[in-house]
Amino acid sequence: MSSATETASRSLSRTYDYLFVGRSRLQQVVVAAGLVALLGLVGAAVFFPETAAADLVAVLTDSSTLAATLRLSVPIAFAALGGIFAEKSGVINIGLEGLLIIAAFTGIYATDVTGSVWFGLFGGVVASTLLAALFAVVCIEFKADQIIAGLAVWLIALGLAPFASTVVYGGKTSASVATLPTVTDMGLPFVSAFVTTELGFVVDLPVFGVLDLQSSLVGLPFFGALFDAGPAVYLMFVAVALSWYTLNRTAFGRWVRASGENPKALDTAGVNVHRVRYAAVLLSGVLAGVGGAALALGIGQFTGSGPTMVNGKGFIAIVAYLFGNYNPIGAFFSTILFAGLDATQLTLQARDVFQVPRPLVRTIPYVAVIVVLALFGRTRLPSAAGDSYDSGEGE
């Protein structure tokens, strides 16, 4: 009992630290205002159930909103994790958008050719990793300006994916292929049964009387979405946890951090800085590849017109990890924030709750990114991020 309250109070104080400590006055005010607005919204919805506030809360707490949030998080979260590794090692990978695009197309193409979404996912990862390898060589070996090289990666993919799509499918939009199944659809022997089994909770509460919960995990209000998501969503949870562990608990993670902060220190400690940076950038290619392929395979089609179906998610991912202070878990939560805004926006449109025009509603995530960047842009970049490293041997 006391340990439970202790844990609760500790996590509360840690949340407080994360939100407020080390922030500027302006940032604290904004964070506080955001919290107050959230409380006010919930309060208004509880006490005035007929108002627009209540409608909004209904949208926010709908299980489909969480489902959409998780689904939309996948490409952003994977790209953000990849971006963290690259940038922590000293290579700013602004080409994440391009990696997502190339993986999205290749994911569809490989699925189409092999007939298996899993081979498709793998194909997407391979394509993204190859493009990341090109980027790595250009930045690490040939000391290219990382920002410009990153832009080039984006623009190459932005040209190549619709080009290839037109070659193969005769148009910028691909044919439809199979999509990634959800957990219940996959028919996994134990899991599928577990999440859909009827659960019987009968709790005798002193005040409200008998609470009789008769449902399955999937049927749970709001959180039910957690139990019926696609495999990419679970992969994302695993990737977030593994990334955090890799960065903070393994020797490789330390080398990555040292390579971005003071590469000379790492070099003189006998670790090859170039090799660490190659590994980190390739890892960012692998992670972004999973995200991009999962994005396309979630829909079963590649859309290559305009900014393609990736539509800025790679750049939002960069802001997500900056906002999350290069911490995979922080980056994950800010991803949830951006994806949540997008999901809310989608649900609002679907339900036609507010009479806000579609094109304007669509700008919400982008405007949110600018606001977040303006308020929290002063993050501490790894000291050596952006600089190519030369051991100093002049030959």
Partner: protein, 429 residues
């Protein structure tokens, strides 16, 4: 220093001079991109389905057998012929320029060149100030929109004045474009200067915002949509408010006047950068912000000013796009802003070089239409080339290494730190 020493050092300086070296690098990058583009066309030719091969690669027997010892001839068929594609791309853009200098295809090439020159010089100004303006696309859209929408109300006031109306309204239209684009560029500039918000991200986000807001403004006739049209566009502007088509046919949507304005703008920006105090401040803060600060340059103000100028130039590009090519605003503005990045980088961010790079890209854009009509190769090939060129120009070290290896024509530039060893000094203490 003997005369021969002097001559040699002068020669070395010419070769190492950033201008010449940059030109060599740009040309090499271009050639390399075209080669790789050719490989991509071949590879795409293997992916596509076609009845007969458009291109056959056959290696003669002796050449093959010396490696494999196997079959005498190896031949492979491809659906697309890269040489034919490049022929269409580069030569197609000129049309029958010798026989008919005002032919439609060449007019398109020059029209594209004009808009690209504005987009390119916009990006170049920001780059020279050390700011990555990826938002030229958004600024161009906002400039185009501002011009198209405002002139709808202003132009009719000058309706009866004939040529005089053009003389008043046309510059006003360009000014409006500059204003719209300038403000839209100053915004991320201010965010960078005063809130440390990375301009690469903010400008990209603002591109998305600009596209969406523009769509909203022209997708309903209660706002600015042309009620007589099915597509999302504004009411056409009166003919006299647009660029007159001198020499060229009116339907080709190109005006020599606009091209002249473009050339003058490039020269003006070049003069501004190299001959004025403002240009000195801007370049200094772009190359070495610490030294600029030491020299009394207000870094924050320079960032905002250069972004505003950059946005204004892109905005004029948008206005020219409306007043020369479209006659109104339509959604789905081509990606001039992104091409502008490549144009600028290829030109080494030199305003005069931008002219040549813009012409090259004008050829590519116009040629891609010829490719689309004349072959099965998707015109998106130009988008791929755009990215490849940026990538290769971004890695001068690659060409320096290659140069050293094959010719040693491009000597290594000595790092600032390298000078310490040769210090003419005695002691630090």
């Amino acid at each position: 220093m003997s005369a021969s020493d002097r001559a040699r050092s002068a020669f070395e300086r010419i070769v190492t001079a950033s201008g010449v070296e940059r030109l060599l690098i740009s040309v090499s990058a271009l050639v390399l991109s075209i080669l790789i583009g050719g490989v991509i066309v071949l590879a795409a030719g293997r992916m596509a389905d076609c009845g007969t091969a458009a291109y056959r690669l056959a290696l003669p027997g002796s050449f093959v057998t010396q490696f494999t010892g196997g079959s005498a001839v190896v031949a492979m068929g491809f659906c697309y012929d890269p040489i034919a594609v490049y022929d269409l791309l580069f030569l197609g853009a000129f049309g029958d320029v010798l026989g008919d200098p005002t032919n439609g295809q060449f007019a398109t090439t020059l029209a594209e060149t004009t808009v690209l020159a504005f987009a390119g010089v916009a990006v170049a100004v920001a780059f020279r100030a050390g700011v990555f303006n990826i938002g030229a696309q958004g600024q161009l859209v906002v400039g185009a929109l501002t011009t198209a929408v405002t002139l709808l109300f202003v132009a009719p006031l000058f309706g009866g004045l004939g040529v005089l109306g053009t003389v008043v309204v046309l510059p006003l239209g360009l000014l409006l474009g500059a204003l719209g684009g300038g403000l839209y560029g100053a915004l991320p500039g201010a965010l960078k200067a005063y809130a440390d918000a990375n301009e690469v991200i903010t400008t990209i986000m603002l591109n998305f915002v600009a596209t969406s807001v523009a769509l909203w403004l022209v997708n309903d006739s209660s706002r600015f949509k042309d009620p007589d049209s099915f597509s999302n566009q504004t009411v056409p502007l009166p003919e006299f408010s647009q660029f007159p088509s001198v020499f060229f046919r009116a339907r080709d949507d190109f005006s020599v006047v606009a091209l002249a304005v473009g050339v003058l703008t490039l020269v003006g920006v070049w003069y501004l950068l190299t001959r004025t105090s403002f240009g000195y401040d801007l370049r200094t803060s772009g190359i070495q912000p610490d030294a600029a600060e030491y020299g009394g340059v207000d870094a924050d103000r320079t960032v905002v000013a250069s972004m505003a100028l950059s946005g204004a130039l892109a905005g004029i590009g948008g206005a020219v796009y409306v007043l020369m090519m479209l006659g109104n605003f339509q959604t789905g503005v081509p990606t001039y802003g992104f091409d502008g990045i490549t144009v600028s980088i290829l030109a080494g961010n030199n305003p005069l070089g931008v002219g040549f790079a813009a012409l090259l890209f004008g050829v590519l854009k116009s040629g891609s239409i010829v490719v689309q009509v004349g072959s099965d190769v998707p015109p998106e090939l130009v988008g791929v080339l755009r990215g490849l060129i940026i990538l290769f120009v971004a890695m001068p070290e690659f060409f320096r290494m290659a140069g050293r290896r094959f010719d040693s024509l491009l000597p290594e530039r000595e790092e600032p730190q390298g000078a310490v060893a040769t210090d003419g000094g005695v002691s630090d203490e």
